[in-house]
């Protein structure tokens, strides 16, 4: 907490051997936790299992006990730590300001390195699907081309209804189900899109990897809305995946490479902000400054300071109100990486309030993770499914026909759950709605 920030004492390392996964963690971060338990009910996995080992206080206690050498890093301990969504709801709930992310992330990275039974990042799924396919938009696009055809031919429903999907390993099944209805492929964004009207800012757009393969329409919408708000938009060509997939799976090195590629691809001095529309990527980009300690840290810090979520940026810039009415009842789901990690809760709501005709209903448990959590839905399908079912149930109580959120993972997850349960819901990004309103169009309901 503040303690670590406000007392600029030298780094206090844990009383642990170098092979101990806690050895690289500033021990004062553990001491910040006063063990009050006020965070527990905010934690999605604890709320589901009721087991304190699956809650924030318990996980901190487990990590600290392993660091202290009181407890072995047993298979059980690993499972409890792996089950963490890294959603940071506990950081929002904690009055003592415990920086949970700074504990779990390095601990998991180190835990992977020490091996053990559950070598998560080394199984086929991580090696081939998550690490080789996801971070590369071109490969991803090629990989989903057959799915596009299958969907076009309505084969997907056939496969699903015949139960053929059940023959696949659960994680792959989850991946197939994840794919949203894929429209016709859109062209890539040009390198430059000029401001419309008086120029108010010059920004660079981060287009992401999975995001660009599946959500290119939302990237287009983001660019258009920025133009409408008087922004010159630059889309740097050499940008890379943000690295979050690797980092959260415990592979720190490849993530650092991605980070440095991005730092090189964006000219920070040339733009007022680097805009991200995927909350998960945004949280990662903003964290570039803290994750690694090496001579390039300053450059990463400079980059990180320029990063702004699209909601945050438009809210601060002052949105030019759109005029097209969208007469619908909608509800807003707080993506963890926006609400908890970036503490942006009001900005998207303020933007949505400017759309004429749109009625926004409160979503119960809006800040409880939907189970997507990066690639969690692929690595922990069972807990993920429990959480997405819970999310959909809450959404249905509001009577809304549109669910709005600002993260790719949540969009896919909620849409998939609705599809599986035969519910007609349109799941969209804040920007999709703003874009429609500027263009005076209606959602495809």
């Amino acid at each position: 907490m503040k303690q670590s920030a406000e007392h600029p004492e030298p780094f206090e390392s844990a009383p642990a051997a170098a092979s101990n996964p806690g050895s690289g963690i500033d021990y004062r971060l553990f001491l910040d936790c006063v063990h009050c338990g006020l965070c527990t009910a905010a934690c999605p996995t604890y709320v589901e299992t009721g087991n304190e080992n699956d809650g924030p206080r318990g996980r901190i206690y487990l990590m600290r006990s392993v660091t202290d050498g009181r407890l072995e890093l047993t298979q059980e301990v690993r499972r409890h730590l792996e089950l963490c969504l890294d959603c940071r709801a506990c950081e929002t709930a904690c009055p003592s300001g415990v920086q949970y992310g700074k504990l779990i992330e390095p601990f998991r990275v180190a835990m992977e390195a020490t091996g053990g039974g559950g070598e998560k990042s080394h199984d086929w799924f991580h090696r081939w699907i998550l690490f080789r396919l996801f971070p590369y938009p071109e490969r991803m696009r090629a990989a989903i081309a057959p799915a596009r055809w299958a969907q076009f031919l309505r084969l997907e429903r056939l496969v699903e209804s015949l139960g053929l999907l059940n023959l696949l390993p659960p994680r792959l099944r989850q991946l197939v189900r994840m794919l949203p209805p894929l429209g016709k492929p859109e062209p890539a964004l040009p390198e430059f899109l000029p401001a419309i009207g008086p120029r108010r800012a010059r920004v660079a757009l981060f287009t992401g990897c999975v995001g660009d393969a599946i959500f290119r329409p939302t990237n287009w919408a983001t660019a258009r809305v920025l133009q409408q708000n008087g922004c010159d938009v630059i889309v740097p060509r050499n940008q890379a995946c943000c690295g979050a997939i690797h980092f959260h799976a415990g592979s720190s090195e490849p993530a650092r490479d991605f980070a440095d590629r991005n730092v090189n691809a964006f000219d920070c001095d040339d733009v007022d902000a680097i805009i991200v529309n995927v909350a998960g990527c945004g949280a990662m980009l903003k964290d570039y400054a803290h994750h690694w300690h090496d001579p390039r840290q300053d450059a990463r810090e400079k980059f990180a300071r320029k990063v702004k979520d699209i909601n945050e940026f438009l809210d601060q810039l002052g949105l030019i109100p759109p005029e097209g009415a969208i007469r619908l009842t909608a509800t807003y789901h707080d993506a963890c990486h926006l609400g908890h990690a970036q503490k942006l809760r009001e900005a998207p709501r303020r933007l949505l309030a400017k759309i004429p005709g749109l009625v926004l209903k409160d979503l119960p448990e809006t800040d409880l993770c939907c189970g997507a959590a990066g690639t969690y839905n692929l690595t922990e399908p069972e807990m993920s499914a429990r959480l997405s079912q819970r999310k959909l149930k809450n959404i249905l109580t509001t009577g809304a026909r549109v669910v709005i959120t600002a993260n790719a993972g949540c969009l896919l997850q909620i849409a998939r759950e609705a599809r599986c349960q035969g519910e007609k819901l349109w799941v969209a990004h804040t920007i999709d709605l703003l874009d429609l309103s500027y263009r005076r169009e209606q959602p495809p309901l």
């Binding site: 009050c36 338990g37 009721g50 087991n51 009055p95």
Partner: protein, 479 residues
């Protein structure tokens, strides 16, 4: 490590509730070795998650058969070690019994399982015009079962009363495994008021498996005021003046300068940095008459020397004020690496005196103390700041804490307003009560819990458990 004698019991529990509801591996049990009170630790031998009242009954019978101690646990936010498994044994964790079974607005009650989080009930009632009144500051995490065990309070208990005033009935599993209902949805059931006896018994009489709680109509209007004072005495005098004038505020809370600095750093409300104390005063009820009450309060505070009294501008400012108050202790981490929150009660008129004494005691022991408390009912929460890495400071903090609590007793008060006795304050019981009082309570406990297998060594001093010696005041969050 599970003792070999308990292996068969774990197996038997698994047969009853299923393997997924039993924890017996050492690494799964460590997190259950303490709750919000971290000075004493002890691992349970087995943790079991019942799914129903019948599960609890079966578990209790098994414990009896093997003659092992057992105790209930909810969210584990107790600040007095109420969930500490003294002597090990079976810990019955009720977090999987978390259904709101019924909400009956016409008869104004709800039936909940013990694992329901206090705030979930409030959320479930949103839009109905009713709420569940007890609102402990930990309401986002603590369970109704735990609230019943400790008879929890909260800022709004000044007007609305504590948990016992809102508990209509309890279903519990007796120590012989039988299932008994005490009270129920209707007011005033005849016979002995055993519901009242069970509330606040800290899990030493029965395992609570279902609670009938009273629902309270939302007030028509609310006025929230902030009084700024140049001296703590003026603030405490205002409290007496307000209550003396026959006004019963819904809440009346005080924060002193020390805590204000931290709260301001955390939440940026805009408290004047040189204020010596602030009062947070809320009145609610029928809209008609509220403005008159507000004006009277403003007048009384000004008469007592307030620098400024103003009303919260809007709902958002009111919420922020309450956030500052309810999460005040969390912000204390900004002042000091470790802290220890005490919980004492004094008659309201003794507030100015006890505050001065706390200041003197702090000075005498060289311990910095800040104060935030439920002023309206004289429930004080001095927070003692220290660094846990310095054993000498720990020693001084323990001495100062003891002296403050002794002073509360001397004022005619008590050593716990809402956190309970648990294991933390068991040694004060002999100071609070004489032998006959304690013997009467012990006889009651024996009637419910004859073999003392349920929550042994809690609340009532018995031979061999007359208080553990405290070596370490812990890092404590509270209220």
């Amino acid at each position: 490590m599970i003792s070999s004698a308990l292996l068969p019991i774990a197996d038997e529990l698994r047969r009853v509730v299923g393997g997924e509801n039993v924890l017996a591996a050492h690494s799964d049990l460590v997190v259950y070795e303490c709750d919000g009170f971290v000075i004493e630790k002890n691992c349970p031998d087995v943790v079991v998650f019942p799914r129903s009242t019948e599960d609890v009954a079966a578990i209790v019978k098994i414990c009896n058969r093997y003659d092992v101690p057992f105790l209930p646990r909810g969210a584990g936010t107790s600040l007095a070690g109420g969930c500490l498994p003294v002597g090990g044994g079976v810990m019955i964790v009720l977090t999987r019994m978390k259904q709101i079974l019924e909400i009956n607005l016409r008869d104004r009650y709800a039936i909940v399982q013990p694992g329901v989080v206090n705030l979930w009930l409030t959320n479930a009632l949103k839009g109905t015009g009713y709420h569940y009144a007890p609102d402990p500051s930990s309401q986002g995490a603590c369970t109704i079962g735990g609230n019943v065990a400790t008879n929890s309070g909260g800022p709004h208990t000044l007007k609305y009363g504590v948990t016992v005033n809102h508990t209509l009935g309890i279903e519990g599993v007796m120590t012989d495994g039988s299932i008994v209902e005490f009270g129920g949805p209707s007011e005033d059931s005849p016979g002995l008021d055993l519901t009242g006896t069970l509330v606040g018994s800290e899990g030493t009489l029965v395992v609570v498996t279902k609670v009938w709680v009273r629902l309270t109509r939302n007030p028509e209007g609310v006025r929230t005021m902030l009084g700024v004072f140049d001296s703590a005495d003026d603030a405490t005098n205002s409290i007496s003046a307000i209550i003396g004038a026959g006004i019963i505020p819904a809440a009346l809370e005080m924060m002193d300068q020390g805590i204000l600095v931290a709260v301001e750093a955390a939440f940026h409300f805009g408290f004047p940095p040189d204020a010596k104390a602030i009062l947070l005063i809320e009145v609610d009820g029928l809209e008609a008459g509220l403005d008159a009450q507000r004006d009277r309060i403003v007048e009384l505070c000004l008469q007592c020397g307030a620098r400024e009294v103003r009303q919260a501008r809007d709902a958002a400012e009111r919420l922020l004020l309450w956030k500052c108050r309810k999460q005040a202790f969390g912000a204390v981490g900004r002042l000091s690496p470790s802290y220890c929150t005490q919980d004492g009660v004094v008659p309201r008129t003794k507030l100015p005196y006890i505050l001065r004494r706390i200041g003197q005691i702090g000075e005498k022991h060289g311990v910095r103390i800040v104060n935030v408390f439920h002023a309206g009912d004289g429930n004080i929460h001095p927070i003692l700041l220290f660094d846990e890495r310095d054993p000498a400071q720990i020693e001084r903090v323990l001495e100062a804490s003891g002296e403050i609590l002794d002073e509360c007793i001397a004022c005619g008060g008590s050593v716990t307003g809402e956190h309970g006795i648990g294991v933390e304050k068991i040694s004060f019981m002999r100071k609070l009560f004489n032998d006959d009082d304690l013997a009467a309570m012990t006889r009651l406990r024996v009637a419910f819990n004859p073999d003392n297998r349920l929550s042994p060594a809690k609340m009532l001093p018995t031979a061999g458990a007359c208080g553990m010696e405290q070596k370490h005041p812990g890092r404590r969050a509270a209220l």
